[in-house]
């Protein structure tokens, strides 16, 4: 099981960081692990061992086998994880200037990275599921990292419970597949799954994937997860963990399509995209906007997968990792410079070249400006869509999407233009990380067709590309006008926006509904138990009190006893004579 070794550096660093409770050393340890793992991934790319299997235990008569695979899909994901994790660790070394608990933070990030890598190499449902649960738990710990904040703790809890729902749904799917196939390796499933049970299993697995990737109706947790430190958002909730759902759908795509999950993927993705852009436009929290954008990106990937185009989704998948991470890192720089202010209307942007260039690169790639990577990804998704209705909706969405993305960029900049404050210096490691990732974004945008041959990549029709750019420009224009130059009266915009946010509130209450239902059931059952207990108690006491009733007959008088004696005697004689 050669591939498993790739997990080792991060496991070690996680353990070490916990044991060596030094806050100074924790960061460097994690960073070292990150660098080593990048090296390992590179080595694995060159000496690809292919698929490997290990029998864990035997259930009944069938073995439970763990399979790892390093196919293209897996190895690129692995490389991205290694890269992003290391960059985020580097970034955190500067960002997390809290004096205590740093070692816990780096330990948790390391374990997260290890779990994520385990997920990325999995080629059977059990390995995938183990990685799935591990990253969910790490996410829980990291979201609630600021433990003194009640809101952070609540957000972590909300996230982990929604993820738990997904976990159990996925587990149900796994169980159903096992019953039919007695093997959980992906290859076997793709070849042999059929029937209504398999379709049910597919539905459950898709539902699980939807929770992990924060799609409608499970999307609330992601926005609340922004309570965590920004590096955490950069790593987990944009580039890696939320992608796990999409990845799962990707590796199982032939099976899911065969089981008829295509329309569901498209539907869920589409609704999520719409919900995301509506909410993003009305939100003013710098990280939440990015969170909604993540939801939108995931939705687009699901739509592409629903139409059967693995490669389009994968293309977007690759670029999204990089540009999202970059966007969050930029956001972190901005908030740190503004004393942790999160509202974009109050944030003051900076036009210093050193700061603004990565920001522009990030935003441009996010929005999809040619020739940066985001353009290719989103255009590929557009090309994959073969349904006119969906295509039309997507066009509209693209306008709104580019509106809010540029709003995200322009509003802080416009504030800058007004107040003219100067910013202090960011820590070097943060800046370094941001730069490396920006270089990554640009490089990947230029280099991608030459990796593994251009024939493997999806066709992006010129028309789609052009249409996309058109929508992009429309959105940019609107955004510039509304936000930078404040041309149209703010009041009109505000009223539209407030209507939008009113819609968004009922859409975002799945979790609240679930909790309310559970609470009501709990009260009902509690009442019932009380009644049950009372009934038993009353019966018991009633029975016992019969004895008091009889006791009264024993009053000690000989007369009474004699009477009973004689009565008994007569009765006995009578009975016996009758027989």
């Amino acid at each position: 099981m050669l591939a498993l070794f790739v997990v080792l550096p991060f496991v070690l660093s996680g353990v070490l960081a916990m044991l060596v409770k030094s806050d100074r050393l924790a960061g460097p340890i994690a960073l070292a692990a990150g660098l080593v793992s990048i090296g390992l991934v590179g080595w694995l790319y060159l000496n690809n061992p292919g698929m490997q299997a290990l029998t864990w235990f035997t259930a009944g008569a069938y073995p439970i086998t763990l399979v790892t695979s390093l196919s293209q899909l897996h190895i690129w994901f692995l490389a991205l994880i290694a890269f992003m994790s290391t960059m985020v660790i580097l970034y955190s070394m500067g960002f997390m200037d809290v004096p205590s608990e740093r070692h816990a933070y780096f330990s948790e990030i390391s374990f997260f990275a290890a779990g994520m890598m385990l997920f990325a190499i999995g080629a059977d449902l059990i390995t995938l599921f183990v990685g799935w649960e591990l990253i969910g738990f790490a996410s829980y710990l990291l979201i609630g990292f600021w433990r003194h904040r009640e809101s952070a703790v609540n957000a972590a809890r909300k996230a982990v419970i929604v993820l738990l729902i997904g976990d159990l749904l996925m587990f149900s799917g796994i169980a159903l597949l096992w019953v039919q196939l007695h093997s959980l390796s992906l290859a076997y499933i793709e070849a042999n799954a059929s029937g209504y049970l398999a379709s049910a299993a597919a539905l459950f697995i898709v539902a699980g994937a939807l929770t992990k990737s924060a799609q409608f109706p499970f999307h609330e947790w992601l926005t609340d997860a922004m309570e965590g430190p920004t590096p955490v958002s950069a790593l987990l909730h944009s580039s890696t963990m939320v992608k796990a759902g999409v990845f799962l759908a990707m590796v199982l795509l032939p099976f899911l399509i065969k089981a008829g999950m295509g329309p569901i993927l498209i539907g869920a993705g589409l609704i999520s995209v719409i919900v995301a852009v509506v909410n993003a436009l009305s939100s003013t929290h710098i990280k939440r906007i990015l969170a909604y954008s993540t939801i939108e990106d995931m939705g687009l990937m699901f739509i592409a997968l629903g139409f059967g185009s693995l490669l389009a989704a994968f293309l977007l998948f690759l670029f999204q990792t990089l540009y999202k991470g970059l966007a969050f890192m930029n956001a972190g720089e901005l908030t740190k410079a503004n004393n942790d202010e999160m509202d974009i209307r109050k944030l003051v942007g900076s036009t210093r070249l050193a700061i603004i260039v990565p920001v522009i690169i990030g935003v441009a790639s996010l929005a999809g400006v040619f020739p940066l990577g985001g353009f290719f990804g989103k255009a590929a998704v557009d090309s994959a869509v073969s349904n006119y209705v969906v295509y039309a909706v997507l066009m509209l969405v693209e306008v709104v999407s580019s509106m809010y993305i540029f709003r995200w960029l322009l509003v802080p900049l416009s504030n800058r233009a007004r107040s003219g404050k100067s910013l202090y210096n960011e820590p070097r490691s943060m800046v370094m990380a941001v730069y490396i990732v920006s270089i990554g974004v640009v490089a990947s945008s230029l280099v991608w067709p030459y990796l593994s041959g251009s024939s493997r990549w999806p066709p992006i029709s010129l028309l789609d590309g052009a249409t996309y750019t058109l929508m992009l420009l429309v959105g940019f224009a609107l955004s510039y006008a509304l936000y930078y130059k404040r041309i149209v009266a703010a009041r009109k915009m505000r009223s539209i926006l407030s209507q939008l946010s009113d819609i968004s509130i009922p859409i975002n209450t799945f979790y609240g509904f679930v909790v309310w239902v559970a609470s009501k059931c709990g009260s009902a059952v509690d009442e019932f138990e009380y009644y049950l207990y009372s009934i038993v108690k009353v019966c018991g006491h009633g029975f016992v009190n019969i004895s008091l009733l009889f006791e009264r007959t024993q009053d000690g008088s000989i007369n009474y006893y004699l009477v009973m004696f004689i009565v008994g005697a007569i009765a006995a004689v009578v009975i016996f004579s009758v027989i």
Binding site: W56, F57, T58, A59, G60, A61, I64, I126, F129, V130, E133, L134, F137, Y140, G144, R147, H148, R149, E150, V153, N154, A156, R157, V160, I161, L164, I165, L168, F171, S172, A175, L176, W178, V179, L197, A200, A518, S519, C521, G522, S523, A524, V525, D526, E529, L532, Y533, V536, G540
Partner: protein
């Protein structure tokens, strides 16, 4: 086998007597006897693994009952689980630091009962040790529990002895109607099919009620919340870790008889109702111990679903699940006991930030809770896989319904972890820390849970023998 079991029983009797005379050293005596018993049981299991021994000595020829002790795959796993939990209880469980003599004597008594029950191959001996266990537990709750212990213990003993009356009835019927008038379990398994139908039904119903009450399945679960909450830490550890497994073991025996085959669906339905019921009761509880108590009820419901599924994976899952649950519950109750002794508080609303004040305890309780909900790398994960694969095989989609209960319970557990362990707003003040004996218990149990979770063949290998 017989001399070994009798040796364990003798050691424990000696320990009880010794402890009565040398009161000051009672705890050391009970630890020594528990350790010795564990060693002997390991040897017994080893003997069983290598040569499959089972032996008997004439006991009551009149009743055709022989003192026969032996092990099977299932009972060896459960025996080891019981021994380990009893040892840990003897060493670490006394978080209240009270009642040394009584607790030592009763732990030894309980040990006798557990060893006898899991190694007996004769239903009458099974019953004898069952009742001894119930009496031991009754006394433990009555003597060593907290304020409401009298009510709780009387409730407990009434329910449990009702269960044993039902079991006795079934035993009497079997004895009278089986052609060979023998109560050997192997013989019963093979011959029970030839009984007249009404006898089979009565035996099935009474044995089912007996084991179901012991496992605390709805609606015979009313003894559980009070008994667990009012018992001392040792009492709760033994109750959840070992006593309810008596019922589980009995259920496995019952479902191995050819009389229950037509009713597995109904049994599974009842078990699912019990699981969901327990989960909804659980989320309304504020006392940490009560929460764990209801989770114990929930888990036994899941085990019953696995037993009812009656296929090889599910049976393995049931035994593995009992092993895993036994350890996890013991760890959970130990941790709760330590929390109570450190913070003097068990109420969820008032506990905060345990991870700063009592770090190892918090980790241990977290490990226990995660194991209960089936987090990977703990034994709970493997048991969940086995149980649900098995139950889906027999009951298709309905076999997945207990997951609802696990979801609700998991949600509340995470709520507790968030609020009580992690949240740092208004932290509660810690007064002390776990001492070396409690740490021993923590590490022993948690290492086992993780070890068996990563290397399941340790248990499964034994099971398949």
């Amino acid at each position: 086998m017989v001399p070994l079991t009798l040796a364990i029983i003798a050691i424990n009797i000696v320990a009880i007597v010794f402890a009565a005379f040398v009161r000051g050293r009672a705890k050391e005596i009970s630890i020594a006897s528990a350790a010795l018993s564990l060693a002997i049981s390991l040897y017994m299991v080893f003997l069983f693994a290598t040569s499959g021994a089972q032996s008997s000595v004439t006991y009551i020829p009149y009743l055709n009952v022989a003192l026969s002790f032996g092990l099977s795959g299932i009972s060896s796993v459960l025996l080891l689980m019981a021994e380990i939990i009893i040892l840990v209880t003897a060493v670490s469980g006394n978080t209240e630091r009270a009642g040394l003599l009584a607790s030592s004597a009763l732990i030894s008594l309980f040990q006798i009962s557990a060893v006898g029950l899991f190694t007996s191959t004769n239903l009458l001996l099974f019953f004898v040790f069952w009742d001894i266990g119930i009496v031991a537990m009754f006394l433990m709750i009555n003597l060593l529990g907290s304020e409401m212990r009298h009510n709780a213990s009387v409730n407990f003993v009434l329910y449990e002895l009702f269960a044993s009356s039902m079991l006795l009835l079934a035993i009497i019927l079997l004895y009278a109607y089986l052609p060979a008038h023998s109560l050997n379990i192997g013989y019963i398994t093979s011959a029970a099919g030839s009984l007249p139908l009404y006898i089979k039904t009565i035996v099935l119903i009474s044995m089912f009620i007996a084991f179901m009450t012991n496992m605390a399945i709805f609606p015979m679960h009313l003894w559980l919340p009070d008994a667990y909450t009012e018992a001392s830490t040792q009492g709760s550890m033994l109750l959840s870790g070992v006593l309810t497994k008596f019922g589980g073991y009995g259920m496995l025996i019952l479902f191995a008889l050819p009389i229950a085959a037509n009713y597995t669906g109904y049994v599974a339905a009842l078990a699912i109702v019990s699981v969901v019921y327990a989960s909804f009761m659980l989320i309304k509880q504020k006392d940490l111990k009560r929460v764990i108590a209801y989770s114990a009820m929930l888990e036994m419901g899941v085990i019953l679903v696995a037993v009812a599924a009656s296929n090889s994976i599910a049976t393995e899952g049931a035994v593995y699940g009992m092993f895993s649950q036994g350890l996890s519950m013991a760890l959970a109750f130990l941790a709760v006991g330590v929390i109570k002794s450190i913070y003097d508080e068990r109420n969820i609303d008032r506990l905060r930030d345990i991870v700063s004040g009592a770090r190892s305890t918090a980790y241990m309780l977290a490990i226990a809770m995660l194991s209960i909900i089936g987090f990977p790398f703990t034994s709970g994960f493997v048991s969940e896989i086995l149980i649900f694969f098995g139950s889906t095989q027999s009951f298709e989609l309905y076999g997945l319904l207990p997951l609802v209960g696990i979801l609700v319970m998991g949600g509340y557990f995470y709520h507790i972890i968030s609020r009580c362990f992690l949240s740092r707003s208004r932290p509660t003040k810690a007064g002390g820390s776990p001492d070396i004996t409690e740490r021993f218990g923590f590490y022993a149990l948690s290492v086992l849970i993780v070890l068996v979770g990563v290397l399941p063949f340790l248990v499964l290998g034994l099971l398949k023998l």
